[in-house]
């Protein structure tokens, strides 16, 4: 039993536990689950004199709980990897640990960061919180995430990358 704790958790354990974050955050903090809005808070905090009114006039302090949440996210991930895993979770393919791999990571990161702000949410805010709240925008966003992912997979397949 204890051994299984150190293995990757099966979907029927981890899925509901992920979903449980929604009521926990609502009942303990009155907040809506979301991760990527922290990008906006960080930008607004770092660029108080930004020429973009969107950032300049934005009161990130009101949303600073989100930064604590994201800090906790990193701490929890560290805890899980360091103390609750028999072996580290396979995060990235070995090809990512090269110069071109790093550049690709950077490109992927920019797509994720830019896209998530444009869409006003990521997998947490839209696919988990938004869908839980039965929001049409979140359904559209989730389908768009999926369309993007499938397109990338199709390009991979056509170019013979990452294939079997």
């Amino acid at each position: 039993m204890l051994q299984r704790l150190f293995q990757p958790w099966p979907w029927y354990v981890s899925g509901p536990l992920i979903g449980l974050t929604v009521p926990l955050l609502l009942l303990f903090g009155g907040r809506n689950l979301g991760v990527s809005s922290s990008f906006r808070h960080i930008c607004a905090a770092l660029l108080p004199k930004s020429p973009l009114a969107e950032l300049r006039s934005y009161d990130w302090r009101k949303e600073s709980w989100n930064l604590l949440f994201v800090l906790g996210l990193a701490a929890g991930a560290f805890l899980a990897t360091r103390f609750l895993s028999s072996y580290p979770a396979p995060l990235l393919p070995p090809s990512a640990h090269t110069v071109t791999g790093a550049l690709r990571l950077l490109g992927g990161g920019i797509l994720i960061g830019f896209g998530t702000r444009w869409a006003s949410g990521c997998t947490s805010g839209h696919s988990i919180m938004g869908l839980s709240n039965l929001q049409l925008a979140s359904l559209v966003a989730t389908l768009s995430f999926f369309a993007g992912g499938l397109t990338a997979a199709l390009i991979h397949w056509l170019l013979g990358m990452g294939g079997r």
Binding site: L33, A89, L131, A137
Partner: protein, 119 residues
């Protein structure tokens, strides 16, 4: 507790995301390649639990445990929802590259390594 609770809730979320391995590039690729159902089942069951919770909270307990009123704002549908969402979806797999063909196609499993015995 104060604001520490947000840190702790974040730690909970990070721990579960890590233990479920949804943070793994392999898991994400296998979802988009339709190779394994794990991520569909994880997202599906997470949304089910989340949706039931939100419904129950709205119905029976529209306040936090501190007694403050709860707001669950809706999400705005804009052009960015579709276009930004699409770019966001492109991101994770963008970093896969040709070399993945010659290296391991699956994440290491328990049998690949010696698992330390837990007393």
């Amino acid at each position: 507790m104060g604001r520490l609770r947000y840190f702790l809730l974040g730690a909970y979320f990070g721990l579960v995301l890590t233990k479920s391995q949804v943070i793994s590039w392999y898991k994400i690729r296998n979802m988009f390649y339709f190779r394994e159902p794990d991520l569909y089942l994880i997202i599906g069951s997470a949304v089910l639990v989340g949706a039931v919770s939100v419904r129950l909270i709205k119905r029976f307990h529209p306040r936090t445990f501190q007694g403050e009123p709860l707001a669950i704002p809706g999400k705005q549908l804009t052009r960015g929802t579709v276009l930004g969402g699409f770019l966001f979806g492109l991101g994770p797999l963008h970093l896969g590259r040709r070399a993945t063909r010659s290296v391991s196609l699956r994440p290491p499993t328990a049998s690949d390594r010696v698992i330390p015995q837990i007393a």
